[in-house]
Amino acid sequence: MTGHQLLFWIFAAVTCGGAIAVVLTQNVVRMAFWLIVSLGASSGLFFLLNADFVGTAQLLVYVGGTLVLMVFGVMLTASGPFSKMQTRPGELFLAGVVAFLLLGLLGSTVCSVDWERVVAATNDGHPVVDRQALNHGYNLPQEGNTGHPLGMAFLGIRPDRDLGVGSKTFSNGYLLPFEIVSVHLLVVLIAAAYLARAKRRVASDD
């Protein structure tokens, strides 16, 4: 067993175990903790998949930002002393049956496809990573430097596909989706601040 395999099994076990613990735990704060464990371990999976920038963004944005926001949401919406929000045992049993059926469906689908052949067919004779297309200054993905090409792709330039030796293609990048998603994030955050603003609590009428 190589180190890569060992790390994969550790990270995969922690990711899946954390996700299952999120489902089985009834306390919301412990659910948030297990979600942090699961998302952190899945960022380890991203590092194993040579996606170092995505793994870093997962740690910074998800674990550092989104989950802290959720913990604040848990704290600000403490449940009352008389309301117990437990799932009924019958519902849990039914959900377990549905979960096993769905997992069996997805797992059998993944295992029944011959991915080697599919990948070879879609690659169309090209190698999986076009090493020649990478210029100097842009490291191989195996060396774990995707930040520079990702930044260029977000600006609309694709040096990993074009500009190589004998390259005749012109690929477009992601400048317009990048702008749309950034303006979308700004609008959503302003709207969230407007929705969650402090206002007088109205009397509950039910």
């Binding site: 994969f8 899946c16 999976l45 926001l69 997805l106 295992c111 990948v119 990702l150």
Partner: protein, 100 residues
């Protein structure tokens, strides 16, 4: 490791998120289920980016997914806070004002 191992991890995360969304009565728990589903999709995107010719495009799409998940969490938590201010509970079974 081959592609199908990573796809199986993504499938486990997806199923856990679906079950979490379906069974939790706490609104924040439903949100955590959504995060699990999005993270399972992200693992699939990055796995395909590494093992196929998708390349950098898969990583770009997974970054978009991360940003949209952050935006969704922000606005959903604002809605949850507003709901809590009006109903003094976060139980989604009590949310029947629209008689849907």
């Amino acid at each position: 490791m081959d592609l199908s191992s990573y796809l199986l991890v993504g499938a486990v995360l997806f199923v856990a998120g679906i079950v979490c969304m379906a069974t939790k009565r706490n609104g924040i728990g439903v949100l955590m289920g959504v995060e699990l589903v999005l993270n399972g999709a992200n693992i699939n995107f990055v796995a395909f980016a590494n093992y196929t010719r998708l390349g950098l495009d898969g990583q770009v799409i997974s970054l978009f997914v991360i940003v949209l998940a952050a935006a969704e969490a922000a606005v959903a938590l604002a809605i949850a806070l507003s709901y809590y201010n009006n109903h003094l509970t976060i139980d989604v079974d009590q949310a029947n004002q629209l008689k849907g």
